[in-house]
């Protein structure tokens, strides 16, 4: 990259530029990667309950606090990440038909 003349200065600038963009890129990238956090209620391999509980908690939260209550979306984020989409669609259909087996 650096031409033969003024190599040292050129390399210094180039390296600093790379490090700066790398570190800001890494910081920016890692900041964007976020998912359902570890829940100590479900520490083991079987996460079925985590999915189901988050889904149920989201709807209970909405029922108690109203549709526009923002913090309920934490549960929504969790179950969207953890539960298979087929399960979510199935449960949503059941909720609409009024045959969802859980207590909301």
């Amino acid at each position: 990259v650096c031409a033969v003349r003024q190599v040292a200065l050129c390399q210094l600038v180039h390296t600093t530029a790379i490090l700066f963009t790398m570190s800001s890129a890494i910081m920016a990238s890692n900041a964007k990667l976020e998912t359902a956090p570890f829940d100590p209620r479900f520490p083991n391999q079987n996460q079925t309950k985590y999915c189901y509980q988050s889904f149920v908690d989201y709807h209970r939260c909405q029922k108690i606090k109203g549709e526009d209550y923002e913090p309920c979306n934490y549960f929504k984020k969790v179950f969207s990440s953890i539960c298979p989409n087929a399960w979510i669609e199935n449960w949503n259909d059941q909720l609409e038909s009024g045959i969802f087996p859980g207590k909301i």
Binding site: T35, I82, P84
Partner: protein, 225 residues
């Protein structure tokens, strides 16, 4: 991926698998030493035409060959237990990927961002350009050096999701979500195959992970949402 004549474990792609490989090599070394020693003594005794008529009691050697194996076992048990607990540590994952086994393909869902879903079928064998029984049409992109949580389930019968170079294997059971956690520490392609009999095409539903930089992964996510 395994190459022809591959006898041992595949090269590791995650720190835990690296530790598992080291433990395997450490234990195998001890076992080979013991086997060689016993084999040598056996052969030597068998080919020896002399008889010791006064071979009785031998308290000293009995004590030695009781204590020495106990010490060897301790040398094996200590790294084993360390690794056992290391594998069990809880991790704060940055990305969650869901994989659902079907007859006879895997489907993947990335729901942390906007929902991305795709199916991954085995690619038909093309002698010049792909690996028979291992290549797929859609690979699974996974960011490097990021703790990944993988949720494994199935839609019909029991399958099993595995990648040997990550030391990860878990059954995909309908109605259940199994979680595994891993971190990829080098870029590349890592192969696996369905590991639970699931019907006629059980041997023909491979898994292929593509380990890419975080930026490439974010580009892929934004281009696929």
């Amino acid at each position: 991926m395994p190459t022809w004549g591959c006898l041992g474990l595949q090269d590791s792609a995650s720190p835990l698998m690296e530790q598992l490989t080291y433990f395997h090599d450490h234990t195998m070394f001890i076992l080979i030493l013991i086997t060689t020693l016993v084999g040598y003594i056996l052969i030597n005794s068998a080919l020896n035409s002399l008889i010791n008529r006064f071979l009785l009691e031998n308290q000293e050697i009995e004590i030695i060959w009781t204590i020495l194996p106990a010490i060897i076992l301790i040398f094996i048990a200590m790294p084993s237990l360390r690794l056992l607990y290391l594998l069990d540590e809880t991790n704060n994952s940055s990305v969650t990927i869901k994989t659902i086994g079907h007859q006879w393909y895997w489907s993947y869902e990335y729901s942390d961002f906007l929902d991305i879903e795709f199916d991954s079928f085995m690619a038909p064998y093309n002698m010049d350009s792909n690996l028979r029984l291992l290549d797929v049409d859609n690979r699974i992109p996974i960011p490097l050096n990021t703790q990944i949580r993988l949720i494994i389930s199935a839609a019909d019968v029991i399958h099993s999701w595995t990648i040997p170079s990550l030391g990860v294997k878990a059954d995909a059971i309908p109605g259940r979500l199994n979680q595994v956690s891993f971190l990829l520490n080098r870029p590349g392609l890592f192969y696996g195959q369905c590991s639970e009999i699931c019907g006629a095409n059980h041997s023909f539903m491979p898994i292929l992970i593509e380990s890419i930089s975080v930026d490439s992964f974010l580009n892929w996510v934004s281009s696929n949402s």
